[in-house]
């Protein structure tokens, strides 16, 4: 057995043990077993890191014989390593959180932990697949795992509806990936993506097919509408799906395309960049209108994926680095945010922002963890989110794309607003009536540890991004054929390109804010209102506070045309027309073909005779 197979084998062994000891293990025992398996996979992954940092590409065989004369071969390069570490790290933290979170679930825990482990293993196989057909298999296994996990509570209609939408939208788009692979094979006779002959046949059409599949998986506009429905899953599932194992599969594919063949630089990468920018704005604008905490986070996933894909679409070394750094950072802060949302729901029984408030006093540690992750997603300095945005803006300025910076900037401001709303409505102000008298408890130690590890890493990689950049991002960038030496110092400050423009931009922003404050203070110093929470704007009458509904209402009013651009009614209309059409066809043909066999046989006979005798 080669070491490169260890992470996958550890996860699969954990899944197998779940099944074998299903009747013996307690609910918590199942959780610990899954956590140990994921941690073992993480340790095994980290043991591969030194070789990959040296630029080595590791090869291994998982199964000797699979299909079409191929084995299940793995290739671990810098990009694979990044996704392996991301998947196992977030997976282990999320499974640790699950130990306590899921222990009271009356049934289905074996199914839950088994599929969670296979889910993570699926991402690892995708990231390490040496041939494209195996990559497609892993792609769809991930899809099936998420389908099963989103529909975990399979007797609840809203859960299974969400699962249905996930499956239909991503699987149908996934055929783009398969048909692209088959077209490549037809042209080259190989499925091995690293074969030089593949690069020559990797046409724009094939790249476009790959991108369609990636867009659906990575919730890019207009194929993003499945993700808000998927939040009806148990929280650990949402965390894993949003942070590492599902939406990142599309990111992996887009990044991997750089290693397969030349596709960027033309209209396709421009189109992808536009899609990324539109996704940034659409995601965050829809997020602002939400009053359900997980739904709000789900729309922010859409927006954040827009940033990541925009970085990758830039097609430069710095852009790729920004996209990959953002990808890893997003896994950490979005995983944390979902886990906190789960902890809040676990403690209060609701995730409705209209029924939450004042939780910082009873869940202080959870609140601190949330604030770190929220600051990170909003791009506050000293967090990894800031570094990610800094790199992205630098890369865009490097290519002279000011519009991308502007879109990213607006997106960041709206993200900050949205998280201020969520933070204030959840943790600050006065507890609403429905929570008073209720025993609200702080999250358990295992839940806090799971969330805390990821939040701590958000800070660590914000202060010392080199710790992420040197071992994982740089090898990832280099494995895609870009030669870039890290020039990142403490706090994410770039020491070469883009730094001057970016610094000037930051200074301009800072000066604007200070000037605004000065003018505000000088012209109209408002009386300190006796309000119980942050108003987000004009002070409200004493004792009142703007709730999630007010904020959502304001957002809906301000961005009304954007909400009308929801593509879901179009998809629903298509489905309805198809359904109506099939019924109409059946009604039309039944009297002829079913009830009058002689007519059917005559029709076929005439058609066959004409066809056979035609020259």
């Amino acid at each position: 057995m080669e070491p490169a197979t260890f992470p996958i084998l550890a996860l699969l062994a954990g899944a197998l043990l779940q099944l074998v000891f299903a009747r013996v293990l307690t609910p918590a025992g199942k959780g610990w077993l899954a956590t140990i398996a994921a941690t073992a996979a993480l340790v095994a992954s980290l043991s591969l890191l030194p070789s990959v940092m040296r630029g080595e590409v590791l090869h291994a065989t998982l199964i000797g014989q699979w299909d079409a004369g191929m084995a299940v071969d793995l290739t671990v390069d810098g990009l694979s390593m990044l996704f392996i570490v991301m998947g196992t790290l977030t997976g282990a933290a999320i499974l640790l959180f699950s130990v306590s979170y899921m222990k009271d679930e009356p049934q289905g825990l074996t199914r839950f932990y088994t599929i969670m482990l296979v889910f993570i293993a699926g991402l690892l196989v995708l990231a390490c697949a040496a041939n494209l057909l195996l990559a497609y298999l892993a792609w769809e296994v991930i899809g099936l795992c998420s389908y099963s996990l989103v529909g975990f509570w399979y007797t609840q209609q809203h859960a299974v509806d969400g699962a249905r939408k996930v499956l239909v939208m991503t699987h149908l788009a996934g055929y783009g990936f398969l048909f692209g692979i088959l077209a490549l094979y037809s042209a080259t006779g190989t499925f091995v993506w690293s074969d030089p002959v593949v690069a020559g046949k990797f046409t724009t059409g094939i790249a476009a097919l790959f991108l369609v599949a990636a867009m659906a998986k990575s919730v890019l506009f207009p194929l993003h509408t499945w993700i808000p429905e998927a939040m009806n899953a148990p929280t650990p599932v949402s965390a894993l799906l949003h942070s590492a194992c599902y939406v990142k599969a599309g990111v992996y594919l887009i990044a991997r395309m750089y290693a397969i063949g030349p596709w960027s630089g033309g209209h396709l990468s421009t189109a992808l960049l536009v899609v990324g920018c539109v996704t940034i704005l659409v995601g965050v604008i829809f997020a602002m209108a939400q009053t359900d905490l997980k739904r709000l986070l789900a729309f922010h996933t859409v927006s954040q994926l827009g940033y990541i894909v925009a970085g990758l679409a830039l097609g430069s070394d710095l852009g790729i680095a920004a996209g990959l750094f953002y990808c890893f950072s997003h896994a950490l802060f979005k995983g944390t945010l979902f886990l906190v949302a789960g902890a809040v729901q676990h403690a209060t029984g609701t995730r409705d922002l209209r029924q939450l408030g004042g939780l910082a006093s009873v869940m202080p540690k959870t609140a601190k963890i949330w604030i770190i992750a929220a600051a990170s997603i909003a791009g506050v300095p000293l967090t990894n989110g800031f570094v990610a945005k800094w790199l992205l803006f630098g890369a865009a300025l490097d290519k002279g794309l000011v519009a991308v910076v502007l879109v990213g900037w607006v997106g960041s401001i709206l993200t900050a607003f949205s998280f201020l709303k969520a933070t204030v409505n959840t943790f600050y102000g006065v507890q609403p009536a429905n929570l008073r008298g209720k025993h609200i408890h702080e999250a358990s130690p295992s839940m806090l540890t799971g969330m805390g590890i990821m939040a701590a890493l958000c800070l660590l990689f914000g202060i010392a991004p080199q710790l992420l950049m040197i071992p994982l991002i740089v090898p990832g960038v280099q494995s895609l054929g870009f030669h870039w030496d890290v020039t990142l110092s403490w706090f994410g400050i770039l020491t070469d390109r883009g730094a001057v423009q970016l610094s000037i931009g930051a200074i301009v922003v800072l000066v604007s804010v200070l000037l605004g404050l000065a003018v505000f203070a000088a012209v109209r110093r408002p009386a300190i209102p006796r309000v119980s929470g942050f108003t987000g704007g004009e002070p409200l009458p004493a004792g009142d506070r703007p709730g999630a509904v007010d904020f959502a209402g304001m957002a809906e009013h301000a961005f009304h045309p954007v909400y009308a651009a929801d593509p879901d009614p179009l998809y629903f209309g298509l489905w309805r027309r198809m359904s109506t059409c099939s019924t109409a066809v059946q009604r039309a043909v039944r009297p002829v073909l079913e009830l009058h066999p002689l007519v059917a046989v005559s029709l076929l006979t005439v058609a066959v005779v004409v066809g056979v005798w035609m020259p």
């Binding site: 199964i63 014989q65 699979w66 299909d67 079409a68 004369g69 057909l133 497609y136 298999l137 769809e140 296994v141 899809g143 099936l144 399979y154 007797t155 609840q156 209609q157 299974v160 509806d161 249905r164 499956l167 239909v168 699987h171 149908l172 055929y175 398969l178 048909f179 088959l182 077209a183 094979y185 037809s186 080259t188 006779g189 190989t190 002959v197 489905w575 198809m578 359904s579 099939s582 019924t583 066809v585 059946q586 043909v589 073909l593 079913e594 009830l595 009058h596 066999p597 059917a600 046989v601 029709l603 076929l604 006979t605 058609a607 066959v608 005779v609 066809g611 056979v612 005798w613 035609m614």
Partner: protein, 392 residues
């Protein structure tokens, strides 16, 4: 192909036998006839490509009509209306062709091909001559349908597969007609399956859709032919699991399963899991055996018919996915209908549930290890032809 079909039919015989001991199908007469159908199919596949084999498989088809007769005479009459002409037409065609060993002089060769196409279209219920299928599907038990779709039809298709190997000109020289028939069945079957509300009818029409795929593979040859082999096995195993799961649910609720039935997963969880695994494997979602067959069919089809045929195959697959996912989510998953009360005395058999689950899981195991099957993967010649083309 014949040895694999023999093993397949043996496996299905054992599964069907175990299943029907706990989910009653129609008494001793039904059991005896079902056994005869399978034994004839096994004997036919053992006899191989010969007149004895043809005769045995035709006898199996006639016994299948009797099987339907035990459950509904009107449906059996309609089935007979298809089977008898189909047998006569194919016998005549095979006689003219000497089982594919010779190509008669024109225009006899064309006459033979016409007879063969119409005969097999009737046997397999292809579009537009599927008139017997809705009646049989609506009025027969799930296991009767499984026998027809997974044994009788698969054996008939096996004959066609063998003819493709022995007399490829039948397909290549008249590819337009075969292609039209395949596309009509592929798209027509998918559309008609979507229109059904009864799950057995839906499964029956989706078989027509799949036959369209299989025909495309035969027509394309090379990788398509091996794709047809894998898909044919997947078709038989998945459909047996799917019909079996529906049969268990019908036994549990005491009425046909339709799109108005709700929340079966809470009542029959193993059958529900079986239906889901079987459905996804059948459609061609990895890691099921259906995927191993389907990717070859997609590739061969696209190479043969270009983007237009690729789009047709994609549309048919999308329709199949929507059809099955709708069935899964309306019938099996979700909240149950409180108005549907199950008689307390009805206890679902664990044996039957276990049998269908094993069938469904076998498609996943074979999908992960297709090399276990003694089928040529068809890719070596394909790769060689690409290499030769590149060298030119």
């Amino acid at each position: 192909m014949d040895p694999i079909l023999t093993v397949l039919f043996l496996g299905l015989a054992v599964s069907g036998g175990l299943y029907s001991t706990s989910v009653l199908q129609g008494g001793a007469r039904w059991g005896g006839l079902a056994a005869v159908v399978i034994l004839l199919a096994i004997a036919g596949s053992v006899a191989g490509h010969s007149w004895a084999g043809v005769a045995l498989l035709n006898a199996a088809e006639l016994c299948a009509v009797l099987l339907v007769w035990t459950q509904n005479r009107d449906a059996a009459k309609r089935y007979l209306l298809a089977v008898v002409p189909a047998i006569l037409l194919t016998l005549a065609a095979l006689g003219l062709l000497d089982l594919g060993a010779v190509r008669p002089a024109a225009p006899v060769d064309k006459v033979a091909v016409c007879l063969l196409i119409i005969g097999f279209a009737l046997k397999l219920g292809l579009v537009p001559v599927y008139f017997w299928l809705p009646a049989v599907a609506a009025r027969s038990s799930a296991m009767t349908l499984a026998l027809i779709v997974c044994v009788v039809d698969v054996a008939a298709f096996g004959e066609l597969y063998t003819l493709r190997l022995h007399a490829s000109w039948i397909f290549t020289d008249f590819s337009g007609v075969w292609l039209a028939l395949a596309l009509a069945s592929l798209l027509g079957g998918a559309v008609l399956a979507l229109a059904q509300r009864d799950l057995k009818l839906m499964l029956a029409f989706s078989s027509v859709d799949d036959m369209g795929y299989l025909l495309l593979g035969l027509l394309a040859g090379g990788a398509g032919l091996s794709g047809t082999g894998f898909s044919l096995l997947s078709h038989a195993l998945c459909k047996a699991a799917l019909f079996g799961a529906v049969g268990i649910a019908e036994a549990r609720i005491g009425q046909p399963v339709t799109l108005d039935t709700r929340g079966l997963a809470a009542k029959v969880p193993v059958a529900s899991a079986t239906f889901m695994i079987g459905a996804f494997s059948f459609i061609g979602v990895p890691p099921g055996l259906g995927f191993i067959g389907h990717w070859r069919l997609y590739m061969a089809g696209t190479e043969m018919g270009g983007p237009a045929l690729a789009v047709c195959m994609y549309v048919a697959t999308a329709l199949a996915l929507l059809t099955y996912v709708r069935a899964i989510h309306r019938t099996w998953l979700g909240a149950g209908n409180p108005a549907e009360n199950t008689p307390a005395s009805v206890v679902t058999s664990r044996l039957a549930a276990g049998v269908v689950l094993v069938l469904a899981l076998s498609t996943v195991v074979l999908g992960m290890r297709p090399s276990l099957l003694p089928l040529t993967d068809g890719m070596a010649t394909h790769t060689a032809s690409i290499a030769a083309w590149r060298a030119r």
